[in-house]
């Protein structure tokens, strides 16, 4: 394997101070392998979203180191981080992914437009074809279904050929059919284009599309699973749920 697309060493993230201090991430070491689809799971408050935000350069780090490729994120100022995000990171959020005043196509090329970069038209057309968006390009977000909107968001994330795409509950607001479709697209982009994807989810079915699942609890990585199936994931989660009770 080549070097990891993203990695964290002794990553600690705390909010507040003194008595009210909350440790969101506690000395996390993690490598996100290039060309892999990684899912991050865990109960609410386990720190899975925080981990993603820190890896993506959206949130600051309290202690430790985070690398995107071989770039250390700690110490980058806001402008450098912004530049890094638009050139090397793709985002898909749970909801509100698109700028309502722009058409689907304009939304897809938004990061390149903002950066003033030329759009790679061949690649763009390929992405649009993969996501089956050809007929929707001139529509405004309000004229698209939820699934279509999320596909536009994925296309935007892929358009810049980022080092990593971070997806935060991308299917959270979709019905199961649209969700499955979207996950299928993500899977294909990993298989066919070698795209690295990190996806936060609490849905075992969604997680089962990944190559590898990281399980977080109380700000630590407590387990990981390769070649998951929905049943295996569900069982593992049920086991987690029981853990505290066993401890009592």
């Amino acid at each position: 394997m080549t070097e990891p697309a993203s990695r964290a060493r002794q990553l600690t993230k705390t909010y507040g101070s003194g008595d009210t201090q909350v440790v969101a991430l506690d000395s996390v070491d993690v490598d996100i392998n290039t060309g892999e689809f990684t899912a991050v799971m865990g109960p609410s408050g386990s720190g899975k979203s925080t981990l993603m935000h820190c890896l993506a350069g959206l949130d600051s780090i309290t202690k430790g180191e985070v690398y995107l490729g071989d770039t250390a994120l700690a110490g980058l100022n806001d402008t450098a981080l912004t530049k890094l995000r638009r050139e090397r990171v793709g985002f898909v959020f749970q909801a509100f992914n698109l700028i309502p005043t722009l058409t689907a196509r304009e939304n897809i090329t938004l990061p390149q437009d903002i950066a003033g970069h030329k759009v790679d038209v061949d690649w763009l057309n390929q992405v649009i074809a993969i996501l089956d968006l050809e007929s929707r390009l001139s529509h405004k977000p309000t004229e698209l279904s939820g699934g279509q909107q999320q596909r536009v968001a994925v296309a935007r994330a892929m358009a810049a050929r980022p080092t990593v795409i971070f997806a935060d509950e991308p299917t959270g607001n979709l019905d199961s059919r649209s969700g499955a479709e979207l996950l299928g697209f993500l899977r294909r982009s990993v298989d066919e284009n070698g795209q690295t994807i990190v996806m936060v989810t609490h849905d075992p079915a969604a997680a089962s599309y990944a190559d590898r699942i990281l399980f977080l609890a109380d700000g630590r990585i407590v387990d990981e699973m390769r070649e998951p199936t929905p049943d295996k994931v569900l069982n593992r989660m049920v086991a987690f749920e029981r853990l505290p009770q066993q401890g009592e």
Partner: protein, 848 residues
């Protein structure tokens, strides 16, 4: 429900700050004006009361009572020593004496300038030695007792820089007097003069300089104990037996003079309140926008209230209560700020020499007006948003409400078009009208209607204008520019309301600018084409000066004619009108007029010329006899010898100045036109004339170019004053831009967060918000310029007869206004843009 309302208002107080501030400014302007005029009123009434006599006898002018200010260049209406003796003999009169007071007596200070302000009267009077009749109190030195001694009021004394016992020059209607300053006195009870200056002479010299030997301008009477003023006044009237004499008691003097004063102040008040109304009107747009946006943002919250059982009326009422809170807070702050504003203006007046001795006070009527205006404007502006809030359906609570695109109502467009057509019809009717007065009125109304039409059509016009100018914004960065234009277009109504607030202020600025510029251009052309004199001799504020000046200039080598122009109120066939009197040379030497029938040259005694329109109106022709009644009571006949087409220099009925002087008119000159002989050395003549004019520091000698410059600078002063007044509404409109942007940044928090997440830098976010602000401001300016130029054009056409014949659209000023709009946009965007750029990305994305 009330608790919920108060909580909401409190929770959103940040979003209401600018609306409140806008109302505060409008209210402050209203209250400040009212408090200032109240102080002016009390100051002047103090002066009037301080100088009133128990009973005073004056001669009533035969015509001209409608003209309240004494022009000062008519011969005073006199009472003889005999009349004084008659009054002294009336039972109940404890003391009576002739008195003189006349305007046009200027004190020259140590630096050779006229003491006191330009505007307030400079009065000459006689020193009354009888303490019963003298309203003034000696404060230093002694009273004037001999010829060429003068005492001055102590306020003016402080500004003279001349000590008691030193020589002083006094400019009087009968020439300049070299006198000695012998004493100072306090005027009336308060000593306040509001900028007027007083110079007292001993009675004989006062008569000689200001009236005629043996004559007075008034008889002052002190009433003996045991008699009322009314009884004595009645007895005096009877004893004098002259219907042309006015005998007034103290109460009547105060009442009549106060009424005259209040008419003047009321005019000032109307103008100031008019500007305040414009500012408040603009503030109403801001309030309307704020509440509309707040209600759009709170849609779900309001729907929830409806879902859990609040009635439509309760929701509506809750919004209005919120507006009422804004109004009450604004009124309280506005009255406070208005008080400070009035104090500031009073200080400014003081620096001009107009001391408001009565002081500024918070008056009940100012507070009541402020409360009424502030509350009514705020509630009216909030009523439509409140009604819309009430119409939110409970089911909306379950739906996600975003900032959705809105459509421009067809009804609104239709109403707008109807208004626009009505505007066109009104303007066309106005311009077609024969009567100058109704023409100006209809066109002015049309201007107002035009503004309203544009405000109604603003959303549609905004979309059109933005589509045209939008592409320019891609210069600011392709995506940023595109996003700004799209954001602005997302809510055309909101953008239009914000921009129209600016349109109103700037539209009026442009209209006034076009008119002023046209007036300047017309005047320039008039002077070039119709003005035949080489020099004009006169004073800046049209103060009259001694006729000796004209006589001396006539003696200068190389001067051909010195033509004096004067005029005043007369009565023709029972109708009061104004006439012009010209003497000293042929008319055509100084006035170039067209379409003359008959003569337009040297007017002989008993001859008159008249302009075509007035002749037609009166049915006069060459040879017609016109009977004119003058203020002195004299009536004379004149024969029409010429009919001419009027221009801005000369208009109406013109009679010989000598005839006018014989009936008491123009005892002084106001301006002299000087023509030269062909061989004259212009520079030498100018130097000689200036030497003559130097005897009176008020006088200046101007050639044609300087005359143009001076009238232009006078028009500019007026223009700047109007600009200053309209600045308030432009400032409030700029606050509206800030307000709309700030609220829309809050509304678009998630969107901005997303832009930041996918790689927009803070600088790009700032640029985007700034571009939106510039777009709105430039839109407001473009609509304002369109309205202003349209209105200015119509007004110029309407006033073409009144001397504004040339249309001049000042392109440079329009460009300045556009640049100003861009600056307004940049400044208005500063805070919202910074706030948007500083949004925490994660929090922004998480915002619901």
């Amino acid at each position: 429900m009330l608790t919920a309302t108060l909580r909401t208002a409190f929770a959103h107080k940040g979003r209401l700050v600018l609306s409140t501030l806008a109302v505060v400014l409008g209210v402050a302007f209203v209250t400040g004006t009212l408090m200032l005029t109240n102080a002016l009123d009390r100051t002047f009434v103090d002066i009037i009361e301080g100088s009133a006599q128990d009973v005073q006898v004056t001669r009533e002018p035969a015509v001209g009572q409608e003209i309240t200010t004494d022009p000062g260049d008519s011969a005073p209406l006199l009472l003889s020593d005999d009349a004084v003796a008659t009054v002294q003999g009336v039972p109940g009169v404890s003391a009576a004496a002739g008195g003189i007071a006349r305007e046009g007596v200027y004190l020259i200070d140590s630096s050779g300038e006229v003491a006191g302000a330009v505007g307030p009267p400079a009065i000459g009077l006689n020193w009354e030695s009888d303490p019963e009749l003298n309203t003034n109190t000696l404060t230093a030195g002694r009273a004037p007792e001999r010829k060429n001694e003068v005492a001055v009021d102590d306020v003016t004394f402080g500004k003279l820089g001349i000590a008691i016992g030193e020589p002083i020059s006094v400019v009087t209607p009968s020439g300049t007097v070299d006198a000695e300053l012998v004493g100072t006195f306090k005027f009336g009870e308060t000593g306040g003069l509001a900028g007027a200056t007083l110079a007292a002479f001993e009675p004989k010299q006062a008569q000689q300089l200001l009236a005629e030997p043996g004559y007075w301008t008034a008889i002052d009477v002190a009433v003996a104990d045991g008699y009322t003023d009314e009884q004595v006044a009645a007895s005096i009237s009877e004893a004098l037996g002259d219907g042309d004499l006015l005998v007034r008691t103290r109460a009547e003097q105060v009442e009549q003079q106060s009424d005259e004063l209040r008419d003047g102040l009321a005019f000032f008040n109307y103008i100031m309140v008019g500007f305040a109304a414009i500012a408040l009107f603009v503030a109403a747009f801001l309030i309307y926008n704020t509440f509309s946006i707040l209600i759009a943002q709170r849609g779900q919250e309001l729907a929830l209230l409806r879902a859990i059982g609040a009635t439509r009326v309760q929701v509506l009422r809750s919004v209005l209560v919120e507006a009422l809170i804004v109004a009450v807070v604004s009124v309280i702050l506005g009255v406070g700020l208005g008080y400070l504003l009035a104090l500031g203006l009073a200080a400014l007046f003081d620096s001009f020499g107009l001391s408001l001795t009565a002081g500024i006070g918070i008056t009940a009527s100012a507070v009541l007006w402020a409360a009424l205006v502030g509350i009514v404007v705020t509630l009216l502006a909030a009523i439509v948003p409140a009604y819309r809030a009430g119409r939110i359906k409970p089911v909306a609570a379950m739906r996600e409400i975003g900032a959705s695109d809105e459509r421009i109502g067809k009804v609104r467009t239709a109403v707008g078009v109807v208004f626009l057509l009505a505007t066109a019809a009104l303007m066309a009717t106005g311009l077609a009208s024969d009567d100058g007065g109704s023409r100006a009125l209809l066109v002015a109304l049309g201007t107002l209607l035009l503004l309203i039409s544009v405000v109604i059509l603003a959303p549609l016009l905004s979309v059109i204008v933005v589509s045209v100018i939008g592409p320019l914004f891609s210069l600011l960065g392709r995506t940023t520019g595109r996003l700004s234009v799209r954001n602005a277009l997302r809510s055309p109504k909101r953008m239009a309301t914000t921009a129209s607030a600016l349109t109103i202020g700037l539209g009026l600025v442009v209209a006034v600018t076009v008119i002023t510029s046209s007036a300047k251009a017309s005047l320039g052309e008039l002077v070039d084409q119709s003005f035949g004199a080489e020099f004009v001799v006169g004073t800046t504020a049209q103060q009259p000066f001694s006729t000796e000046v004209a006589d001396e200039i006539r003696n200068v080598d190389g001067v051909e004619y010195v033509i004096s122009e004067s005029g005043g109120p007369v009565s023709i066939d029972g109708e009061e009108t104004g006439i012009t009197a010209v003497g000293g040379g042929p008319l055509d030497e100084v006035y170039s007029v067209e379409d003359v029938s008959g003569d337009f040259g040297q007017l002989e005694s008993g001859q008159a010329v008249v302009n075509t329109e007035y002749a037609k109106e009166q049915g006069w022709d060459l040879g017609s006899e016109v009977r004119i009644l003058f203020p002195s009571g004299d009536e004379r006949s004149f024969e029409i010898v010429g009919i001419y087409a009027s221009n801005g220099l000369i208009d109406g009925l013109v009679i010989p100045l000598d005839d006018y002087r014989e009936v008491g008119g123009a005892s002084q000159d106001r301006s002299l036109y000087v023509t030269l002989t062909p061989q004259a050395d212009t520079q030498q003549v100018l130097a000689d004339i200036e030497a003559v004019a130097d005897t009176n520091p008020l006088l200046q000698v101007l050639d044609q170019t300087e005359l143009k410059e001076q009238t232009e600078s006078q028009l500019n002063q007026l223009l700047y004053l109007v600009y200053a007044m309209l600045a308030l509404s432009v400032v409030i409109a700029a606050m509206g831009v800030v307000n709309t942007l700030a609220l829309s940044v809050i509304e678009r928090t998630r969107e901005i967060g997303l832009l930041r997440a996918v790689g927009a830098t803070r600088r790009q976010i700032r640029a985007m918000i700034r571009a939106e602000a510039i777009l709105m401001a430039v839109l407001g300016a473009i609509l304002g310029i369109a309205v202003g130029v349209g209105a200015g054009l119509a007004l110029q056409r309407a006033m073409a007869d009144a001397g504004i014949e040339v249309l001049d659209i000042p392109i440079a000023t329009l460009i300045v206004i556009l640049v100003l709009a861009i600056i307004i946009g940049v400044v208005a965007a500063a805070v919202p843009a910074r706030r948007a750029a500083k949004l925490d990305i994660l929090k922004a994305i998480a915002t619901e």
